[in-house]
Symmetry: C2
Subunit: 251 residues, 2 copies
């Protein structure tokens, strides 16, 4: 097995949707004083690490995500590479890197991936994160986008850019359903579009257009366990997807 390459890392922005808001998965990063065991700082970091010289980048991204979270079958897509000279130079990031035995002077370029996961399929209470390197303080948790707190390195830039990419993709490719359960209501689908695009959609127009696309089909079941009148459930039909880009000139 070849060495870890100290200049190249991957980081993952994992989005989840709880039917109300968009969330991102982050680890707590807690630096403890070796002298008096007090907390020097506590903040949040995206899952990520360096790649090995003998593995392809996508492989590295899946490996790192699995090691850190136990997720093995999620959708990951590379969206941007961050390599500012200043990206590791904040005081607490330098402290942290020194504490875990890395050289803060090393130039590190990070290839960023984003992922969309249905939060109902992700169990953060299992034991997967025991595999994570012992310098992570705690298990991963979901943070709403407007309550990220202090974020390590340039990871807030990664999250912002990932969200921009997601907005662009959401109108050109059918990927948004990856945030939903296998079966979903049209209201849930509308809500996830509204949250991601930060717009209000007209219910009737939305339903007409989305059903006309042929990509969303009824599963002939209704919602259960709701206090209101149960709505029809739908699923995404990949067979109908031709791979063509929606062309707004001709929509």
């Amino acid at each position: 097995m070849k060495e870890i390459n100290p200049h190249i890392s991957v980081d993952c922005v994992i989005f989840g949707f709880d039917m109300h808001q968009l969330k991102v998965l982050m680890f707590d990063r807690i630096l403890i004083s070796p002298e008096d065991h007090t907390i020097i700082f506590s903040d949040h970091t995206l899952p990520g690490n360096h790649i090995r010289d003998d593995e392809d980048m996508d492989t590295a991204a899946y490996r790192i995500l699995y090691e850190l979270t136990g997720f093995s079958d999620v959708y990951l897509e590379q969206f941007y590479t961050f390599g500012s000279v200043e990206r590791l130079s904040k005081q607490r990031d330098r402290q942290w890197l020194s504490a875990i035995g890395k050289d803060p002077e090393t130039r590190v370029v990070t290839i960023a991936y984003y992922s969309l996961v249905p939060v109902d399929k992700v169990n953060l209470d299992d034991n997967a994160w025991k595999h994570m390197p012992n310098w992570y303080g705690k298990r991963p948790r979901w943070y709403p986008l407007d309550q990220l707190g202090y974020v390590a390195y340039d990871h807030e830039d990664l999250i912002t850019k990932a969200l921009g990419t997601l907005r662009e993709r959401a109108v050109t490719k059918p990927i948004i359903y990856k945030l939903l359960p296998d079966n979903f209501t049209l209201s849930q689908l509308q809500k996830v579009y509204e949250v991601i695009l930060d717009i209000q959609l007209d219910k009737r127009n939305f339903r007409r257009r989305i059903l006309n696309s042929g990509l969303i089909v009824p599963v002939r079941k209704k919602q259960t366990g709701v206090s209101h009148k149960p709505a029809e459930l739908y699923c995404f039909d990949m067979k109908k997807y031709t791979g063509s880009i929606n062309n707004p000139l001709y929509y």
Copy 2:
């Protein structure tokens, strides 16, 4: 000045449009036998090189592009990072890297940029490329996408992915006009859309929609030097652009 980082490079896919087809700018790469001075091989490579440890990636991309082509005011956008373990391992690429004093075993990740330039503003006959490293065989030339010939490394993958990105951007952001002269006819605009999206557009619908968008305005001049009836000229009006993504659900 810090060292060149041997693990990280940038490469540029520069697109131009000659009113008929899309072209990409490449250098000839010619390996000459030191013994009998015969040509061992001759193929094409994208402009690119390694970054310095003290420069940001965009800065490195602009510097490298300027050094290789003399272009200094073009639009560059990062679109993907290529890091396959195998990307430098083809026989002739290993030969080439050894000949220019690089180690073919070094893992190199390349951050790829694409650029859209109006071919009428680019003068490949000036002396800019005299700055280029002496191991490039010849000045850069435009190659039609369907006549690329043998392309070095994984650069054909870079071109394919850049084209995919350009297709997606073309329907979400007003960037396509960067391939045209400052003033252009609606037929020219339609043609560049058709070539990039690989579709046929209906002339009347296209004109109605593109003028309704408010982003294309008449300059109150007509074409000159054409044998047919001169058409009205238009320009892109950046003041009207709000930065919002075209939403095909509501177009």
